[in-house]
Point group: C2
């Protein structure tokens, strides 16, 4: 083993500069664990002249990725530049050149994780990606090692800090979505183009990674049903509160026998659920195992140093493996072929808010649509809509199959007495009021 | 590597039978991860004829520990019998006979962990003990691996399910300690002799293990300041509520520069703290790292299957190491010499409830004791005590050193106007009311 372990860093943005800081500040601890110093050898940047928040000698910076991928001194490549196609090529080249890789790139792992892990294994290299899901929370390691003996049947995650910040603010302050989004952007919690976050895509990528590991089954991004938070209104949140629920963007992964469902959608969560009190930009993953029962892992889902902690902890794992000469042997290939539940087998409770014409028999007409399919109500609220001839009806159903529920909603839209279907969400647990 | 991995199990009680069940029920998953079957070869029991909740062929049972410790077929010894001196001898013998060991024994690890880990390392054997702290929560692995790159400065744990159950019930139902203890015993959440739990000793053992790992410093059981919950009254809990706090038995470990303090005591925790909503028999460990910030790990702290999950997950770790030929190399010896804070350097806020004679100037006399030492008040409540000439005074102080605070309390006891000091607790955070 070399006198020091040398790192090639791809990217020196928020996470990259965090990685440099942690390697500097915690050098003692790293050395104690690994037995030799760790050194950042080369850093790929876009612009050599840009000012950085960290102190890196200019000769270590490069704009040429070959200086890292083909550098015989570099032992480990840390990828924190983001992006997909280029980055995939870089990581493949690094692995084929026998360099271990640590990445924080969820987009890449959700799309090409399986391919990259195979190449890593063939090259005898480690490819670790703890930071790709839930930032500083060591959730992937907990799933793969800490709960290695258990059969995980359910995972629920608040895995996107931006949307959790927005929903928490909307819920606590009664503010409108656009207003809070603006505030989140000003605070740096949301990007100037927030689409991937608010449309649920970012969370979906993380859920694909989580469920692939937790269920030992290759789940692709396309397998995740996704609904974002852009249509959530103050009225919906008012009703949530009133009914004893908290609205969260929940990544939901459930295994029933051999069949799996994975979704990301705004969900009314009973206030007593451990995830309901995860607020602001925090993340948490709730894991249910057959033997262990309920567990939850909570922490910062993003940010420079939290994410960098996960990256450098992965680096420690790589370095320990180097010392023992066992790199490239820890990845476990999926045990099961993919089997997704059909809509008729996906069961949930639902919250539905509709506006109907306030006329005799309207409510009976509605309820018969539900009862024909055997779907009953847990809660019902009916109120007149101000300054109109309409009534607002809010129901929380008992469990229904997704298939039945979607058909009911379609039929409701077609009814002449229904003015509009305002909103519809999954419901988890029983709200106590 | 053998055709199957063979286990010698010491103990077939609650956790032992859980281990047998998980190895049976999750054989597929274990085999997929490890590449060969896992088999329970021999089980040490006290009484061969006792009925068991699990199906074990009688020829596998033995009352003679030598059948396991000196059995050439046994690869891994799982110790779930409890006890200290005998058990220590058994584990030492097993390790010297080149058998890997997984234990759930916190009493043993808190007292002899350092010795046992040294012998394991010398013998090239693994000694894993995830189940010894917080049952099903993979907290030790998270500290050692998931947060490997960070510098942990604070850990707070609800690490005893019995006392958390009791305090939750007392808090929610306004019941008295003895009454709730009785209920906990009837439900099997408390033992017939509850001393180790309610006096805080069990939690102290776990905090010694946690802080040894988290601070990389050998912390002994005697280094932990301990106060149990037996003197907590309904009145104290009423005031907690009124002031915006929840009472929990908190294991507190804090590092300030190179110096460390570790304690277990009933603590008034601000309701907004993530640990404040950990209820009933659940456990959770809150970890603060310099880089990662706030994280929390939540789950079942005890019980047959949850604890067995941690045991068998450790077993998977041992078996993966066997496959790679790297057993006995993962333990990291403490990096720092032990340096405990003195009482003058331990700072906290405190809740104090006293009864004083209701006479002119009493309150001024009291407050001067505090102000002489520079300790000021965050909150004060004074009320007459019914049917007496006494007044009840409750204060929450701002931060004070433990030394100053203890001297103040001693001087209060000596004052003629003070009838009695009713209760005194640590306070964490700011209660919002």
């Amino acid at each position: 083993m070399a006198n020091s372990i040398k790192i090639g860093l791809l990217g020196l943005g928020t996470v990259g500069s965090g990685v440099v800081k942690i390697i500097e500040n915690h050098q003692d601890k790293l050395m104690h664990q690994v037995g030799c110093p760790v050194e950042v050898q080369k850093v790929l940047v876009k612009d050599l002249s840009k000012a950085r928040g960290v102190d890196i000698p200019s000769e270590k910076l490069t704009t040429n990725v070959e200086d890292i991928l083909h550098n015989p001194d570099v032992d480990v490549v840390i990828e924190v530049m983001g992006g997909i196609e280029h980055t995939r090529d870089y990581i493949l080249t690094a692995l084929r050149n026998k360099k271990h890789v640590v990445t924080a790139n969820k987009d890449l792992m959700a799309l090409y994780g399986s391919e990259l892990l195979t190449v890593a294994s063939e090259s005898g290299c480690d490819l670790f990606y703890e930071a790709s899901v839930a930032g500083g929370i060591p959730i992937l390691r907990s799933l793969v090692e800490g709960l290695a003996s258990d059969r995980i049947t359910k995972m629920m995650g608040i895995v996107n800090g931006t949307t959790n910040f927005i929903l928490t603010k909307m819920m606590n302050e009664g503010s409108a979505y656009e207003e809070v989004l603006k505030e989140a952007q000003d605070l740096g919690y949301a990007e100037s183009d927030p689409t991937a976050d608010v449309e649920g895509l970012d969370a979906a990528r993380k859920m694909a990674i989580l469920s692939t590991l937790g269920f030992s089954m290759k789940i692709d991004l396309d397998d995740v049903r996704v609904q974002g938070i852009t249509n959530v209104t103050e009225e919906d949140l008012q009703y949530s509160k009133q009914l004893g629920y908290t609205m969260k963007l929940i990544g939901y992964a459930h295994r029933d026998g051999e069949n799996v469902e994975v979704s990301v959608e705004p969900t009314l969560l009973a206030n007593a659920h451990p995830l309901a009190s995860v607020n602001d930009e925090y993340n948490a993953v709730y894991v249910y195992g057959e033997a262990v029962g309920e567990t939850m892992f909570y922490g910062p889902g993003a940010g420079s140093l939290p994410t960098a902690t996960a990256v450098v902890s992965d680096l420690v794992g790589v370095m320990k493996n180097m010392r023992l000469g066992v790199n490239g042997k820890s990845a476990v290939t999926p045990q099961y072929p993919k089997q997704l539940k059909e809509a008729k087998d996906v069961y949930s409770k639902y919250f539905l808010r509709i506006h109907v014409k306030d006329q005799v028999g309207a409510f009976a007409t509605l309820t018969s649509l539900f009862s024909e399919r055997g779907v009953s109500f847990e809660k019902i609220i009916q109120l007149p809509v101000k300054n109109s001839e309409l009534a607002e009806i809010v129901v929380v159903t008992h469990k229904s199959s997704l298939k039945d529920y979607e058909e009911i909603v379609q039929q409701l839209r077609d009814l002449s007495i229904v003015e509009s279907v305002k909103s519809s969400y999954r419901v988890e647990g029983v709200g106590e009021v």
